[in-house]
Symmetry: C2
Subunit: 317 residues, 2 copies
């Protein structure tokens, strides 16, 4: 009898649901709108209803389902306590207990969505086969996940791998979304890259093709840097310095087998890896200077994969 | 039948050996000289001989020994590979395989000595009962250990928790022992505190009782700071800033239940905790700002305890 898993990635607008075979093969995926009425109390029941319909459609019975994993856009402790998700309307509660009720299954697991995405990449993505890894997700914000021996490091307050909020610049005058000033996210997120580009353009008199654009995107900055635009290269170098420094801290603390860079900004590819590599080698303790720096491969599906991976009890290899 | 454990802490001059009951009660401890002849090949056999003599003395048989743990002054990977210990003469080899031969026991475990000391504190010391913790050892150098769910995070290169070599000052002109410039160890170790005190005394014209000493120790600096000496307070504040920053990075990455500060410098006590607390709260992501900051309690025996703790298979609580 074939066995299956569901990986659920809850976002502020939609919930991504993946239907997997136990070895990590994605058989089907779909989205359920995130209904935020009544403090988000229908989100999990909507997902359960949608999953039950899918099981009928596929002719799969409850007895064939190994478990249900869930990525949540907020802090989750190791024992399944959600500590509040502002953009879902959720307060503090034990989501694993709730999942067991709603999905009628004992094998459930929840964790922070960025942490879960890291586990997904470790299961079947760019980090497959790694004994330990740190994923750094450069998107609208900067998040991440630390995975050791196929397990997420969740943190006592569900706030491990809050990589975007590591302080990198004590001179910063603008505030980060978190309230601090000078967080990595302010320079290494897509919005941060655009903001830094505008700053540098304003300060400098130098010619730059970036000046001809009505609206600058992070992609533009990397594209122009690749074609040699000096100011664009300056923006990329600044990101490389701050991100490389933080990777140095991560190397000294976790000493992972590899770093995995994901998120929209990571589509820039090798120019990004090159920008951080030398800084990393200079910053980290010598024993860890050859840590691999890889790119994530699952894109927006990483969360779904990781959610499913959490309920697979055996090691990945 | 009572069951026992041996915890072995290998140092450059002596090996500390502890004889434990399985719940962590230290029954006896003694030291064996570290014989470094022939690239340290007699170190483990000397310890084994000494342990066998002790077993005869105590009337304990092999069948009563649960296992043997070992702390090593150098990097050790999770699967027991020593990657070289300069001050023992050791190159690269699998110490756990060697321990099994020498001690005639399958249940053996080795790890880096600073990591092991952290586990010891987690087992029965200042960090007892914590689900996760980061120990920071401020001694001649600065080391540490990350413990999650009663397990040491060893690192892919055996170099996790190399906290002393996190870069904190890009302006530093002096070199650290590791070859980099501006490592935490250069400001937060006992030698670092003394060096900073001398620097500050030299730069300033201000009166300070520290000027009257022939030889300044780290203890003097803290003692004088406690009695209000302005320059001594400046040295402590500088240490607090750098150490608090690094604890901020650790908070954002590991989000432990508590920090545990150990090593000779930690004898300064609450003045040290106070010096780092405010900086930590300012630097870390808000979810982790209330992380407890505690003092280690096992002193130089922490390594022996931790070495024994590694072979206890059940959780500590």
């Amino acid at each position: 009898m074939d066995k299956y898993l569901f990986g659920i990635d809850i976002g502020g607008t939609t919930v991504k649901v993946g239907f997997f075979k136990e070895e990590g093969l994605l058989l089907d995926k779909w989205e359920v709108p995130t209904r935020k009425d009544n403090n988000g109390e229908f989100i999990l029941t909507d997902v359960a209803e949608s999953i039950n319909n899918k099981m009928v459609e596929k002719g799969v019975t409850k007895g064939q389902i190994i478990g249900y994993g869930c990525g949540v856009p907020g802090p989750v402790t190791d024992d399944g306590r959600v500590l509040g998700c502002v953009n879902l309307g959720w307060g503090e509660f034990n989501i694993e207990e709730r999942m067991s009720e709603v999905f009628e299954c004992a094998n459930v697991k929840a964790a922070n969505d960025a942490n879960v995405a890291a586990l997904g990449e470790n299961w079947v993505g760019g980090g497959k086969g790694l004994s330990s890894m740190v994923m750094i997700t450069l998107g609208t914000g900067v998040g991440g996940g630390v995975v050791i021996n196929n397990k997420i490091v969740a943190g006592f307050n569900g706030a491990a791998a809050e990589i975007g909020h590591i302080q990198v610049n004590d001179e910063e005058t603008d505030s980060c979304n978190c309230g601090k000033k000078g967080c990595l996210e302010q320079y290494a997120s897509a919005t941060g890259v655009v903001k830094e580009a505008k700053r540098i353009l304003e300060k400098s008199e130098e010619a730059s093709s970036l000046r001809e654009l009505d609206e600058i995107t992070a992609k533009d900055v990397f594209d122009y840097a690749k074609s040699g635009d000096k100011l664009a290269l300056e923006v990329v170098a600044k990101l490389g310095t701050y991100l490389g420094k933080v990777m140095g801290y991560l190397g000294c603390i976790v000493d992972p087998e590899a770093f995995l860079i994901g998120g929209g900004v990571s589509k820039a590819g090798s120019i990004l890896v090159d920008a951080v590599s030398d800084v990393y080698k200079k910053e980290v303790f010598r024993a860890s200077k050859d840590t691999k720096i890889l790119l994530a491969s699952l894109g927006n599906d990483a969360g779904m994969y990781g959610a499913a991976a959490m309920v697979v009890k055996n090691d990945f290899e």
